[in-house]
Symmetry: C2
Subunit: 654 residues, 2 copies
């Protein structure tokens, strides 16, 4: 076996980006029109990679866990997001450059400036500076002539900056403004001061129908589409909980100033699960199967203390200790972890970070993000929130449509409570049309209020007041209140929702970073070591040339692979076999087979593995069998080397 | 074999809709908020059905024809649609009720009113009226008390109405207004007159970024995303044409007054192919493989003559005769036909209709729609247009980015032409900064203009004029024009685009109509005879009850099917086996296997076929093999009956 050194050169984002652009994994959308920040198009390899990640997601979650798939609408009438709280609160804090009017996201501004100062400080102290961030590069491009000399900071300032950065996500808008003033944070592009942070709602607005009277928004998440269909889903599931719905689809966020490539975009594909669970029992039937999975956790206490030190612990222990709130949340964290590893994320660069109190979305009671480390830092790629009963409750209250589970109790529950009873005839005579209002006021009373009313009635009469301040006098001829024993045989409850939510573009990009390297012999030869499971093309078929004599064999191999469900591509372009392999190393194609004159004469074919570039040789059908096993993951390359002889690059024609 | 009578009852849309709603194939979006016309959510079986249709589409087109898949952005900056012509012309004609202000689509109004009058006429003549359309029903609901008595029309009026309806799609807005006046067409809901038709742009508008300065639209088709990436796609394809790009994704049209369920919606999933071809050679390499396919064609001449008579002809003949413009267009019509049949469309209710002149989209030079007959009439489900060089040319002209193919010529072409040559030094001296303008004016001249200029120069001097009406005098000291012989070794051309464009929701809905029927014995028992290829669930696993003793067998069968890639579902709900089968007949599940006490004792299992309800029995593993073959389509049910003994409904435990 040739051993491969994948770390001969440090990761170089510029090289990766050149490969992704050259091979059209993705590109800025509307590029020939000058582009629009935060919008990207996926080309053939990017689309295929994304489709393969989605297919595996569907298998790993929807099929294996019997989830109910949905495909709901993107365009959403405004009242839905008014109820959900997005109209009021789905916003970021933005500041403006006080002179140019350029718009900046407040938290990003603070982060970029403080990180730059810390890097400068390190340089001044003669310590190795951290790799320069992309945003810094942009800046430098803009004012190349102002190459600042390193500035050393006081030790206590360094500590303070680091503390601020560790809990950055926890600051409110006014607090971010305060930070800018206190630490003289200005727009680094212009050195101008910035305005006080103001909120900017991130939803794209439109209007539905020809009259312009129905405002709508593009959904910023798929979740509301699940919640609004809850009753139908529950019925489809024969009325039982727990169960989960799942959806893969496009969402939109009008980001203030998107940078960082696929990591912060205005339109993106999400995969979201809403798992509905009894609020009194958040255990998970299959938790035992994942209990042993060890995760890197960064809890909220650690962060509040200004640290980012992770703790490695089994999810079983984390739930037992209460670090992770419940089994269902823990179960999904472990399943997210195994999914990400399957598609090629490096486990050493994956952590689960708990949200701090102010950071949490308005609906969540606990939330952990799967964060993946990449050249931009640690990036949230999957959120896993316990949204409690928030969404179902607010939609139910708003629409009057009950979004509840009704469960037959094995043992009826016996309760005692105060029960009001009206004498309808007397009530009607006295209050006429207002009878209904009177009944409603009393009906809305809680136990304490009923008891107080009962006491007043026992003393002769009581006066109640409607919401519009009208008074009604009641006597025991009209109303009696008695303590009664009631049997309850149905339990009704609003389920809680655990939501794992995947940003597929972010996962795709960080995965590409984790799998990119350059060959030790030649830094110009980039390789994407994509797992066969998600690689856009599994097998490259390379005829020696485009000559017709190879056509029947190319067609045969191509057809046999297709029949086995293995996606292959033929490359008969007019260039050397070496160049064609190099191109496909950049495309992440794990295996290549070559057809030459010996193939025509002897029916042999060579098989090349991308990472090691080692080659094997064998009968065409035997090689096909081996390559199918490799792609399906039933054998490894060393095992394949046991089944076929090595090929030394010289093939004789008998 | 039990023979099955699927036509015992006429198709009943109300029954189908009840099934689709009850089983949550799809439902109005935001239903608990009162819904929004034209927006629908797909539930679990609808999502799965759609996903299966998409998977087959991907296989039939993208994989088999080596198309380049794309995934481009929905949110699009306005300049793109200004260039493409959508801002100016992507509109429908709408009229308003002159009193209530209600908005109606002009062509739909004419159609509904004239069809209603023709139906009333038939009734008056004692002929069987056509089944009442949904739109009519809605109307009747609104004014139940106004049950109009049938009105007979003059014979020549009947002929005129039929002629209008046959060429309805060919009228312009003013012509529709004229029709309303001439035939007293009023809003049928109110009997009020309607206003003159005005254009309403169907794109949803929004704005991109925090400053509101960048107007954007939601794409009404995915096509522009292909065209803007043409250069990258061509390079990915090693510079060769023909090739095709393909994309599956969401598009949006702000329909004026959507009705007709999934057939006219505001948000929908499309699958679009853009096939780039040499304008001088629109032949197709694989046309020979489809030449024999017989299609039902309705050409534009037939329609213009006021008829809707179809002609059955092989696509080979249709192309040879020039009815269909070229081989590539013909090839795709045939491929569309085979795709639609595969997923369950009835060929007798499928026709290809050619667009008439006024009807054609602004970019098309020829266009055929695959129309599928259903209870709403004939509905366009796939468009297949020759967009010529329109899109690539306009984007290229607007952006200055060449969207062209450059082809090395085998034989260089030798041409003679007039070539202007400036004396730059003298030119600069005389015109200073205006030199560039002078050069541009001459550079933009065609052969005739150059010849005329040459003649004037030979006579002493010539005067040329800029676009802003400034004159420049030229002499032969400044400019000479000579006839030169040039060799051209590269041919540069803008490819033409053939575009098959699929509306997946419409295909899905019409397919459901074509496959719905009620059992002869019991009209209440609806069946969806979905082909196994697209059925949401392929095999239902039915344990006799939810008792634990069946669990290991259920798990075993479930796992073995999953391993074979066959999607199954377990139904262990607390109801009779018969009811569970009936539910799955409505869900279109083609096969069911039952596990009972005999299974536990003997390892036998029964297998039921949905349409015939006949059952077979055999060893569990043998039944699994048969069911896999059935699902993969390698055997038919009659063949399965040869492999397993019939089951009479009584199973003994040995």
């Amino acid at each position: 076996m040739t051993s491969v050194n994948k770390t001969a050169y440090p990761f170089d984002k510029t090289r990766l980006e050149a490969v992704l652009n050259r091979r059209f994994f993705y590109a800025p959308a509307f590029e020939i029109y000058g582009g629009v920040a935060g919008l990207y198009d996926y080309g053939p390899p990017g689309s295929a990679l994304q489709a393969n990640i989605i297919a595996e997601w569907r298998k790993h979650f929807i099929v294996e866990e019997h989830m109910l798939e949905l495909d709901t609408t993107i365009m959403t009438p405004a009242p839905v997001f008014e109820t959900s709280g997005h109209v009021a609160r789905f916003a970021d804090w933005m500041v403006k450059d006080s002179k140019t009017g350029d718009v900046l996201r407040a938290d990003h501004l603070v982060k970029n400036v403080l990180e730059a100062r810390l890097n400068s400080d390190k340089e001044a102290r003669g310590l190795a500076a951290q790799p320069v961030k992309e945003d810094e590069k942009d800046k430098k491009k803009k004012k190349k002539n102002v190459k600042a000399s390193p500035v050393q900071l006081a030790d206590e300032i360094v500590v303070e900056y680091e503390r601020i950065l560790a809990k950055l996500d926890d600051y409110t808008g006014p607090e971010l403004g305060e930070l800018c003033r206190k630490h003289s944070i200005k727009n680094p592009d212009t050195d101008n001061e910035v305005t006080e942070p103001v909120q900017f709602n991130l939803m794209f607005a439109s209007s539905i129908g020809p009259t312009g009277q129905h405002p709508g928004f593009l959904r910023p998440e798929t979740a509301q589409g699940h919640f609004l269909n809850f009753s139908r889903l529950l019925e489809y599931n024969n009325g039982r909980v727990p169960f989960a719905s799942a959806q893969i689809g496009r969402s939109f966020r009008n980001e203030i100033s998107p940078r960082a490539g696929l990591l912060r975009v205005r339109e993106f594909t999400m995969a979201e699960i809403e798992h509905y669970v009894d609020p009194e029992d958040k255990s998970h039937a299959h938790f035992g199967e994942v209990r042993h999975v060890v995760l890197s956790l960064l809890d909220r206490h650690t962060q509040s203390a200004g640290s980012t030190q992770i703790t490695k612990t089994s999810i079983g222990e984390a739930v037992d200790k209460g670090t992770v709130a419940n089994q269902t949340l823990g179960y999904f964290l472990a399943r997210i972890y195994t999914f990400l590893l399957k598609i090629g994320i490096n486990p050493d660069r994956l952590r689960f970070r708990q949200h701090m109190a102010n950071e949490m979305a308005h609906y969540a009671t606990d939330c952990w993000d799967a964060e993946i480390q990449n050249s931009y830092g640690w990036t949230e790629c999957v959120g896993c929130a316990d949204r409690a009963a928030y969404d179902l409750s607010v939609h139910s209250a708003k629409t009057g449509h009950p979004l509840v589970v009704r469960q037959a109790l094995k043992e009826p529950i016996v309760i005692e409570k105060e029960v009001p009873e009206f004498n309808k005839k007397n009530l009607g005579k006295k209050f006429l049309k207002d009878s209904a209002i009177v009944q409603q006021i009393v009906g809305d009373m809680d136990e304490t209020q009923l008891l107080s009313l009962k006491e007043q009635l026992s003393k002769g009469s009581a006066t109640i007041t409607s919401s519009d301040q009208r008074s009604f006098e009641l006597t025991s001829e009209l109303l009696t209140i008695e303590r009664k024993t009631l049997k309850q045989s149905i339990r009704e409850f609003v389920p809680n929702v655990i939501e794992p939510s995947f940003g597929l573009g972010r996962i795709l990009y960080t995965m590409l970073e984790h799998n990119f390297w350059c060959r030790e012999q030649d830094i110009e030869r980039g390789v994407l070591s994509l797992p066969p499971l998600v690689a856009p093309t599994k097998v490259l078929i390379v005829p020696l040339s485009a000559r017709e004599e190879f056509d029947p064999l190319v067609a045969e191999v191509s057809m046999k692979l297709r029949k086995a469900g293995v996606f292959s591509r033929v490359d008969d372009s007019n260039t050397s076999i070496g160049k064609r392999y190099a191109r496909n190393d950049e495309l992440g194609t794990p295996f290549g087979v070559t057809l030459d004159f010996a193939s025509v004469a002897n029916r042999t074919m060579t098989l090349r593995e991308r990472d090691t570039t080692t080659q094997l040789i064998g009968d065409i059908d035997e090689v096909i069998k081996v390559v199918i096993d490799l792609v399906e993951g039933t054998i490894t390359w060393p095992e394949a080397c046991q089944r076929l002889p090595a090929y030394d690059g010289v093939q004789a024609i008998e």
